[in-house]
Chain length 383, copies 2
DNA sequence: CATTGCGATTAGATCGATCTAACAGCCGGC
DNA sequence: GCCGGCTGTTAGATCGATCTAATCGCAATG
C-alpha cells in the first residue's frame, strides 16, 4: 500500500501549527511565505516523513509533469542515444518521462499513446513506428502537443525534429568525390522511409553537382542491419562496373559493409571507401573506424524535448514546423582519407585514388601486419 | 491545457441517463452492470469524446499503474536490452513505465527515485549507478518495493534479479580448457562491481577444476569499453608467458580484444581464442562472430518486472531474495571451436591447439582472402 | 481616527474518479 | 403478506493538494 498511510499536508500543518494552504505554498516554493514560517514547515515535513503526492496535485491543478517518450526500437543504438538525449533534457527541466517502446508495432503505438493521454502527459515525443500514417495519429481535440522525432510522416501536420539528412548525405558523397571516386554506390535500407529518401536525395545532389551520372546500378537496397550491409557490399563487389566507394544509409549498414570487406581480406579505406551516417558510438569503435556524418543524435533528442516544452507555452503555434539539426562530416579511416595524409577538401586527388581503385580489384594483400595505425587524434572535421 | 475541458464521468452519465457510479463501474469493466446499460454508457463515452483521467482515479483509489525503471546507462546495449525486456513485460501487464537514465550519477539517481515515490509508483526496477551503496537506498518506510537488476549491492537487503555470472564465466573458461588452452587470461573491467567479481570467481572455478594455476599474471584489468578491451589484449600479447585465450568480462571488452588482434593482422579464433559475456546483438555481428555467454538479458528484464509485480501482492515477502537466470554458452568463431570441426565437449584437442598457439606468435599471414567462412548455422550451444 | 495598503496567512471550495453503503425492484418461499 | 436474498443502480462522502477570495496585523497616510 504505497499511497495509503502517507503523511499529508494536514499532518504537516498540524505539526507546524499553520494551515494547509501555507504548507502548500511552501511546497511550491512561494516567496509569499515568511522565511521563518517556511523553515518551520520544512522542519515539520522532515518530522512527519512527508512524501509529496503528485496524483493529488495533478488532479487539482489539472497539470502533470509527465512527458511521453514513444520510441520505435530502443535496442537500436540510434534510438537509445536519442532517448537518452530526450531524457537528459526532460530531467533538467524537472519533467518526468513516461517511456514506451513500440517495437515498430502500430497497434502497440496506438495503445501507449492512449495511455499517455489518460495520464495527462504535457506532450509526447514520438519516433513513429514503421508504417505509421497520418490516420494513425488522429488524436482527440483535447490532446497535448506531439512532436515527431527523426521520422517524418506524409501528410501529417505535426511538428518535426530531425537531422539534416539531405545535407549530410550530400557532404558524405562530396567527400568521396573529393577523394577522387567516380563510381560511388548508395547502400540503402527501407526506401519507404522519408529519412532514407532524403539521404538518397543528398547523395544524388552531390553526384549531379560533380557532373557524375546517377545510376540505378549504383543503388543497392538491403535490410537495415549489419547482415544487410554485408550483403549490399557483396552485391556491389560482384557488379561488372564495380563501384569504388559507397555512401551508406546509416552506420549499421556501413559497419556490415566493412565486415564484408574484412571477410574477403580487404580493408575499408584501403580497398573500398565507405561513409556511414549517424556517428553511433559504434562507428568510432569499428575496425577500421568509420567515416560518417555526425547528426548529433543526443543533442537532437534534447532539441526535440525543448521544442516540445516550447509548445506547452504556445498552445496553438503554427502547425507543421520543422527543426532540422546540423550535420558534420567526421573523417576517420573507412573512407581512406588518412592515406592521402589529410582530409582532402575541395581537391581532387585523382592520382592517389586511382591506385586505390586498382587495389580494390585484387583479392588480398601480403604481409600486412598493421594495416591501420590507430591515431589518437582520430577525428578530423570537414564542415 | 490538456486536462481542463475534457469530458468527465458526469458528462457521460448525463448523456447516457445514468449515474456517475454506473459509469465508473463500466469504465472498470465490472460485471455487475447490465450489458445493455454498459453498451449505452460506452456509446455515450464515444459521443462526448471521453478520455479517462488517471490522476483522479489514482488519487481516490490510492493506487497508480506506474512502475519506475531506473537505468544506469541506456546507451549501453546491455542495459537497453534489459530495459526493453522490462518495458515489454510491464506493457503486457498494463503497467506504465516511468523512465530515468541516471548516467551512473548518484545524485541523479537519488533525485529520480524521490520523484518516482512522489508519483506513487507501485515499485521500481533499479539498475544501480556505479558506486551505489546501501546507504544511498535508504527509502522511507512507506516506500514501494524496489528490485535490483543486474548489480548487487553489498549489505543491501533488497531483492535481486541477475544473471548466473559465476556459472556462466565458468562455462566460458571450461570451454576454452576443453579446446586445449592452458594459459587462459581474464580481461576484467571494474573490479569493484559484484558482477565482475562473480564472473572472475567462475573463471577461477573452472581453472581450478582443471588443475590449472590461477595467476594474477593472467588477469588484465581495464576500462569497460572497446578501447579498454583492445588495450587489455595488447598488454596480454606483450606478456612473456603469453596467454592463448581469454575469458572477457563482457562482450564489449571482447569485441575490443578482437579488434586489437585484427589491427595486428591476427584473427580471433585462429590466433587467439576469445569468449565474451552477455550475447549482445553486436556479438553475433562482430567479425569474427563472438563466442559468448547468453544470459538472456531481455528475458531477465521480463523476470525482474514479474518479480516486482509479485511483490505488489506480497507486501512483506522475505527480504533479500535473489532470482538468478540461466547461462548458455553460444559457440561462434572467436574461440576457434569451428576450426576443430565441432564444438569440443569434454575433450582436450591439444594437438590442434598447439599449432594455433604457434601461429599466435607470427605477425601476419599471406594471401588469406577469406579467413572466416560465415556459416548460416552460426549458433551451436554447449550446455 | 479612520483608511488605505500590503505582506502573510487561511478557510473552504474544488479537481474527477472511486468507494461505501444504501436503495429500488423483483423473485421465491414460508 | 412479509421477509430475505439477489441484481442492478445510485447518492454522497472521499482521496490530498491547490486555488480563490477573504482575512488578519500592522504600518503609513490623509
Amino acid at each position: 500500500m504505497p499511497l495509503r498511510s502517507r503523511a499529508t499536508v494536514l499532518d504537516i500543518a498540524r505539526q507546524a501549527g499553520v494551515s494547509r494552504a501555507t504548507v502548500s505554498l511552501v511546497l511550491r516554493g512561494s516567496d509569499r511565505i515568511k522565511p521563518e514560517t517556511a523553515d518551520k514547515v520544512r522542519k515539520a515535513m522532515q518530522d512527519v516523513g512527508y512524501v509529496y503526492n503528485r496524483a493529488a496535485a495533478n488532479l487539482r491543478s489539472a497539470r502533470t509533469s509527465f512527458v511521453g517518450m514513444v520510441m520505435s526500437d530502443l535496442t537500436n543504438p540510434f534510438f537509445s542515444e536519442l532517448a537518452v538525449g530526450i531524457e537528459d533534457s526532460l530531467y533538467r527541466q524537472g519533467l518526468t518521462p513516461i517511456l514506451a517502446n513500440t517495437n515498430d508495432d502500430l497497434a502497440r503505438q496506438e495503445q501507449v499513446l492512449k495511455s499517455m493521454l489518460e495520464n495527462g502527459v504535457l506532450g509526447v515525443v514520438l519516433s513513429p513506428a514503421r508504417g505509421t500514417e497520418a490516420r494513425h495519429l488522429s488524436l482527440p481535440p483535447s490532446a497535448p502537443p506531439v512532436i515527431l522525432a527523426m521520422r517524418k510522416i506524409d501528410g501529417c501536420e505535426l511538428p518535426y525534429v530531425g537531422q539534416d539528412n539531405r545535407g549530410g548525405a550530400s557532404k558524405a558523397a562530396r567527400h568521396l568525390i573529393d577523394l577522387g571516386h567516380r563510381r560511388i554506390a548508395f547502400f540503402g535500407g527501407d526506401a519507404a522511409i522519408t529519412t532514407q529518401q532524403e539521404r538518397y536525395e543528398g547523395y544524388c545532389d552531390a553526384l549531379r553537382d560533380a557532373g557524375l551520372e546517377v545510376s540505378p546500378a549504383l543503388v543497392f537496397e538491403t535490410e537495415v542491419s549489419k547482415d544487410g550491409g554485408q550483403q549490399a557490399m557483396e552485391r556491389a563487389l560482384a557488379t561488372p562496373a564495380r563501384p569504388t566507394a559507397a555512401v551508406c544509409y546509416n552506420d549499421i549498414i556501413a559497419i556490415g559493409a566493412t565486415r564484408a570487406l574484412a571477410m574477403r581480406g580487404l580493408h575499408a579505406g584501403n580497398d573500398f571507401a565507405i561513409v556511414g551516417f549517424d556517428n553511433l558510438s559504434e562507428a568510432k569503435d569499428n575496425f577500421p573506424p568509420l567515416t560518417t556524418i555526425d547528426a548529433e543524435t543526443h543533442a537532437m533528442g534534447g532539441r526535440a524535448a525543448e521544442a516540445l516544452v516550447h509548445l506547452f507555452d504556445t498552445p496553438h503555434a503554427p502547425k507543421s514546423t520543422a527543426i532540422i539539426g546540423g550535420s558534420r562530416l567526421v573523417v576517420r579511416q573507412s573512407c581512406g582519407a588518412h592515406l592521402t595524409g589529410r582530409a582532402a577538401r575541395n581537391s581532387n586527388e585523382v592520382s592517389s585514388q586511382a591506385s586505390m581503385t586498382d587495389r580494390a580489384g585484387r583479392a588480398g594483400r601480403c604481409g600486412a601486419s598493421a594495416p591501420h595505425a590507430r591515431s589518437t587524434m582520430e577525428e578530423d572535421n570537414v564542415a
